[in-house]
Symmetry: C2
Subunit: 324 residues, 2 copies
Amino acid sequence: MKEIAKLMDYRSDVRVVDATLRDGGLVNDFYFTDEFVRALYLANIKSGVDYMEFGYKASRELFDENKFGKWKFCKDEDIRAIVGENNTDLKIAVMADVGRCDYKNDILNKADSPIDLIRVATYLNTIPLAADMIENAAKKGYEVSCNIMAISNTQERDLEAALDILGKTPVDVFYIVDSYGALYPEQIARIADTFLNFASKYGKKVGIHAHNNQQLAFANTIEAVGDGVDWLDGTYAGMGRGAGNCAMELLLGFLRNPKYSVFPVFQFVDKYMTKLREEGTVWGYDLQYLMTGLLNQHPRTAIQFTKDRRNDYAEFYKELVVQD
Amino acid sequence: MKEIAKLMDYRSDVRVVDATLRDGGLVNDFYFTDEFVRALYLANIKSGVDYMEFGYKASRELFDENKFGKWKFCKDEDIRAIVGENNTDLKIAVMADVGRCDYKNDILNKADSPIDLIRVATYLNTIPLAADMIENAAKKGYEVSCNIMAISNTQERDLEAALDILGKTPVDVFYIVDSYGALYPEQIARIADTFLNFASKYGKKVGIHAHNNQQLAFANTIEAVGDGVDWLDGTYAGMGRGAGNCAMELLLGFLRNPKYSVFPVFQFVDKYMTKLREEGTVWGYDLQYLMTGLLNQHPRTAIQFTKDRRNDYAEFYKELVVQD
């Protein structure tokens, strides 16, 4: 049981990151209208969100620019077209995937860029390359986080070794990423404890990015903040791959720091997210995602099930268990 | 942080209660087909659920029998038509609402009834009447629980006084009921602690019935079970009033006791719950329920919003805050 005071009071070190365009972009191949992105930017400013993640810096060698919206690539000029000089308190983030980003060329010097934070996303087996990307981004002048994906599949000793390597880089934030939505709050508490030990040793912060396969994205996020995790990812209406993420409206409703305000989030969801759903964009909790979460599997089979407009859940479960 | 062992192992005292017909009946005025009820009964048996709640024993003086399906009234012969002699491990429950039940007449002697458990539902201000109903049901030979509704609106001293009164009755289980879906896991832990203290003093068990206004019904339920709460309510596909309840498929996926099996739940949801939704029955998490949960209000305004097929969320929030 956590202390009562924690619910009433707040920790000023908490940072809220809006990942709608980035994780939500995985649902609609990053085809957001400029109006949507601009309105989201304004809603984030109004609601006191700390960082807005615009999308990926994806390699244009690996990905065809004609097959994705522009936020898959996040060219600096495209961000600039939305935010201008961004003379606001809202900082700008992009994600750089290990092995899928020409970081040496595509990430400019901070002095020439509207971007503030580079989020390096890695699996546990590519930590050395992640470390190189971190060094590169830090040298160029950015804040840097390292997002360790598929954390529910890692062994604790390997994770500790990874955090020890990352601790020696100039990274600012270690991120817990429950890519499969497989973890329960008790496990988040345990993992947060490991992350926080290394963070404390190396003077870093810890963040969490949760998925909603078991309707626990918000619960796991507030478990983590109660444990001392400071950086919290949310997305409007929970928009994100598969079962989606921790809903920004739940998160800002929970946080007590008066700088946050949930009403602009309601306004944005009302005006823009309902429309996206009506146009046929599908995300959010459903049984197929619960099943892959429960079995600690990548959601790709569940995403395919959704794309195929199947709803024979029991048959799908049989397929998963037989494959297992 | 709870102990690691708790997640791997299980507590054999845990009891799972399927409240689909009762709380779900509040969504469709208890108009379930006999085929649905029979299949649900069989699914509960197969999945190892401990109790199945058939509905309310509602007063036929207060409620017009022509305006509700039969599970609003749960006549013993109607239950018997589904379960026969019920020679199974699944026990049968009904809810008796304080002030809305002719309990002296409508609850027969256990010896003549297929019912095993009477769930007395009360607000905090009607505890003496609840105590009388408990005495009556126990004398007739039933197991009895007392479900204290709207727990998020109670003051702790009042709650303690109520539990002290109830402790002296023959009730078997005290139930925490988060009617408004307003509570966070940290608060559940605190409330469970209070309940468990009185339960231990008087030799009672503790249960939880959660609502999903903030996507926390499942999270609050597993928080509670980690704290020592034994009786857990779930509903198939989370069907229940407003934002609905803890989904049975999440709960049985989580519980480790080998007597439980989640697959029959998937099968039932696949075959029956999807159909209910397609026919227009609406329940589950949505922004209007998040808002009433956040403001710790009864969901009636949000239910009306849903009935009116409104989706102007921001306007609704303004109405709530202005009324407040």
